[in-house]
């Protein structure tokens, strides 16, 4: 999926008409809640609070349910994420080939913990459970690109390209 993240718009002015368009494309159906949130997430890179409130009103779904869904699934984020999204695969195949050591080196190099976003919104570091490219493990995915056969020693030069 294209990650057309308007990251610089994080926490910006609510754009109700954009959200309306998404909701209407699903005929304002309650059962499309997850799909609607996915589109909003694709648009902003996270789910802004005002958007959640708007979805709740438009679909007549209680905010508790919207928040419940938004906080339950890994696909959704409630805080803005970085310009570059680094996802380290920790599927079993990547784990046995040393994926954990790759994460630890990324944590050291970026000076942040896994799951965090840098204060200047330059990077978000996440672990994912499996990207399904086990032949190339350990895998690191930055934005849309996959980097296979990673090792701690290769981490430095990889992230320099994005700094």
């Amino acid at each position: 999926m294209a990650r057309r993240v308007m990251w610089n718009l994080a926490e910006s002015v609510p754009q109700y008409s954009k959200i309306d368009k998404i909701i209407e494309s699903y005929s304002c159906e309650e059962l499309a809640l997850i799909a609607i949130l996915q589109e909003i997430e694709n648009l902003y890179g996270y789910l802004p609070a005002w958007a959640l409130r708007h979805v709740s009103e438009k679909l007549s779904v209680p905010m508790t349910q919207v928040y419940g869904v938004a906080s339950f699934y890994d696909a959704f984020h409630l805080t803005p994420r970085g310009k570059n999204l680094i996802r380290v695969c920790l599927g079993t195949a990547c784990h046995v080939r040393g994926g954990q050591r790759v994460i630890e080196e990324l944590e050291r190099k970026l000076n942040m913990e896994v799951g965090e976003t840098a204060k200047d919104l330059s990077f978000t570091l996440e672990r994912v459970n499996c990207l399904g490219c086990c032949a190339l493990g350990p895998i690191v995915m930055i934005d849309e690109n996959y980097y296979g056969h990673m090792s701690p020693a290769k981490v430095g030069s990889l992230i320099k390209r994005f700094q």
Partner: protein, 617 residues
């Protein structure tokens, strides 16, 4: 193409397609599933098209872009049919040679051939590659003949033939009887007889029924559902239409995880085409039967692979499972009778209808029929998707097909069934793989992940890894799973850090049994399997961590120390330059030494050392 109006019309189309294929030139097939794309298969596709155009070879050859062929280790793969010339690890710059040498001059491009690692022989034809030769690719085999975005390709490989047979020759009850007779069991892991499930759903009270395809392949290390959906989505759609006809459903859902964008895209294209051609929607092939399928996208929650949680998720709710006193075949999606099957189960259905239950039930073992698809990954030479008849011994899968363990390391265990499964040790390598045998060994079939581990894998660390995964993925609804897994994780972390006492192992075992017995859904009930199976087969390794405060595999950081072998170190300084902690000291061309108090055991030095002089103790 226009709407297909009847059975005769479909047969007519198939005949024409086959005639055209007969008279046709050769066909260059390029595998371009997700693993292929990671290795730039799309650039290869472009380059091949360019080259065909440049040399005016369009009348000699056609190009087909397919999904994954299964041998991911050597992707992207280019196969030239009908000869079956097999080129591997193809890059865009190889396109010119493939066209000018092989297509125009019938010469083989030697450097692109696969080399058998055991005999070091170059292999020209696909059928001779050991990885493929020893498999039985009933489901995956068609991936290489089908462009997933072209319905015609699927029709040419007998596609929708089974659907015609069912719609025009069989009553729904006869379909169910056929599936029951075939012995097909659910491929999602639990292995419930598919025909029996269909029958219960058909007989359940209610006017509206649903069929659901579970493509929420959350098991880390398993990706065969992705490969089938990406590579041959119509086989699943056909299976679902047949199932819906048998059950009496008119609406279906395919629930795909959002991490699989290509699978979602190809399924969407396939559904649109099927609708356009009249294979989905109202009055399918003029039979009077109505059925349509929607895609529901998952939100990245492992628990949603569980049937009741998945249905809650389709309804737009949190994916929390419920107790199954009332089965989903009676009350599932929106409280209506719902039949849910895995991707592979649905894909098996057209095969059974086309070839008959008798043919199908001859494949496999007494209780597990047909083939199983496994993703062979981890410390293995040939990573890829393997399809074999049920009952094939593990040893054959790992050594004959998988090519054994890389780097002359020793095999230690194979993990099957994902986080719900267990680790099977070397002494059980001759175990025939089927539903019962894997369960007896303390593991399970699961969705078919097979992660091979060598001597450098710590089994306690594996148990910790799965517990960590499950603690994160437990939905939190029931107490035994939510709290039990966390407490188990604490104990296992203590073991890996050398803080545990002997009696903790007993407590761990007790906790594991409790979580297994009292959790609400399958996630919790099977969550202790990785712990129980490693405790059962690798107790010594736990003992080494607890008593001797040692990690024999050299993985658990708090229990290991890096050191440099005196006789191997040349003082080249490669390690010293890269050490992030400045923990290595030494003059050029003299022995280097690691300061254990500064060392953080990241292993960068060991990766960097060209002389393999850095060891772990």
């Amino acid at each position: 193409m226009k709407k297909i109006r009847s059975r005769g019309h479909l047969e007519e189309i198939r005949r024409k397609l086959l005639e055209r294929k007969e008279s046709e030139k050769r066909c260059i097939t390029i595998s371009s599933g997700t693993c292929g794309r990671v290795r730039d298969s799309q650039k290869v596709v472009e380059a091949i098209y360019d080259s065909v155009k440049k040399h005016g070879a369009g009348d000699k050859v056609c190009v087909r872009v397919t999904g994954c062929h299964g041998f991911c280790q050597v992707a992207p793969i280019v196969v030239i049919y009908p000869d079956g010339i097999f080129y591997q690890r193809v890059k865009a710059k190889d396109a010119e040679d493939i066209i000018t040498k092989t297509i125009l001059n019938n010469r083989i491009v030697n450097r692109l051939l696969y080399v058998d690692p055991t005999t070091e022989e170059k292999i020209v034809y696909e059928k001779d590659v050991p990885f493929f030769r020893k498999q039985m690719r009933l489901l995956l085999g068609n991936n290489r003949f089908v462009d997933p975005t072209k319905l015609e390709d699927y029709i040419a490989v007998e596609g929708y033939k089974a659907l015609c047979k069912v719609l025009f020759e069989m009553k729904p009850e006869e379909v169910i009887e056929e599936i029951k007779k075939s012995g097909l069991r659910g491929r999602g892991g639990a292995g419930f007889p598919t025909g029996v499930k269909w029958e219960s759903c058909r007989k359940a009270e209610g006017d509206i029924r649903y069929v659901v395809c579970n493509a929420d392949e959350g098991d880390p290390g398993a990706y065969m559902d992705r490969s089938l959906l990406e590579g041959n989505p119509h086989s699943i759609i056909e299976g679902m239409i047949i199932g819906a006809y048998a059950i009496g459903a008119h609406d279906g859902y395919i629930y795909v995880r959002y991490e699989y964008p290509l699978a979602i895209e190809n399924t969407r294209i396939a559904l649109d085409q099927a609708r356009e051609y009249g294979l989905l929607g109202k009055n399918i092939l003029d039979s009077g039967f109505d059925f349509d399928i929607k895609i529901a996208m998952g939100g990245g929650a492992f628990v949603c692979g569980e049937s009741t949680a998945l249905m809650a998720s389709i309804e737009g709710k949190m994916g929390e499972p419920r107790a199954k006193y009332i089965h989903t075949v009676e009350r599932g999606l929106w409280n209506k009778p719902t039949n849910l099957n895995n991707v592979k189960t649905w894909a098996n259905v057209p095969l059974i209808i086309n070839n008959g239950a008798d043919w199908y039930s001859k494949i496999g073992t007494e209780k597990s029929k047909g083939t199983g698809i496994f993703s062979l990954v981890g410390k293995i030479n040939n990573t890829g998707l393997v399809e074999i008849p049920m009952g094939t011994p593990l040893r054959q899968i790992i050594y004959d097909i998988g090519g054994g363990i890389p780097g002359s390391k020793k095999f230690k265990a194979v993990q099957t069934g994902g986080p719900s499964g267990g680790c099977i040790p070397e002494k059980l390598l001759d175990l025939p793989v089927d539903f019962e045998k894997l369960t007896e060994a303390g593991s399970m079939m699961g969705s078919g992940g097979m992660i091979v581990m060598d001597e450098n894998t710590c089994m306690v660390d594996m148990a910790r890894y799965f517990l960590d995964f499950l603690a994160d993925e437990s939905c939190g609804k029931c107490f035994p799973c939510r709290e039990g897994i966390k407490r188990m994780l604490e104990i296992v972390v203590d073991i890996t850090k050398g803080r545990a006492k002997e009696e903790d192992l007993g407590l761990l075992q007790e906790l594991a049994e409790m979580v297994k017995d009292f959790s609400l859904c399958g996630l919790g009930k099977t969550a202790p399997n990785p712990v129980l199976s490693t405790l059962r087969y690798f107790r010594d390794e736990y003992g080494a961590h607890v008593r001797d405060k040692k990690c024999p595999a050299g993985i658990c950081k708090d229990l290991i120390e890096y050191f440099i072998l005196e006789d191997k170190c040349t003082g080249c300084g490669a390690c010293l330059k890269l050490c992030p902690q400045q923990a290595i000291q030494g003059e050029p061309k003299k022995l280097h030494i690691i300061d254990p108090t500064k060392c953080i055991r990241c292993g960068i030095c060991r990766d960097a050392c060209p002389y393999e002089s850095i060891m772990v103790k």
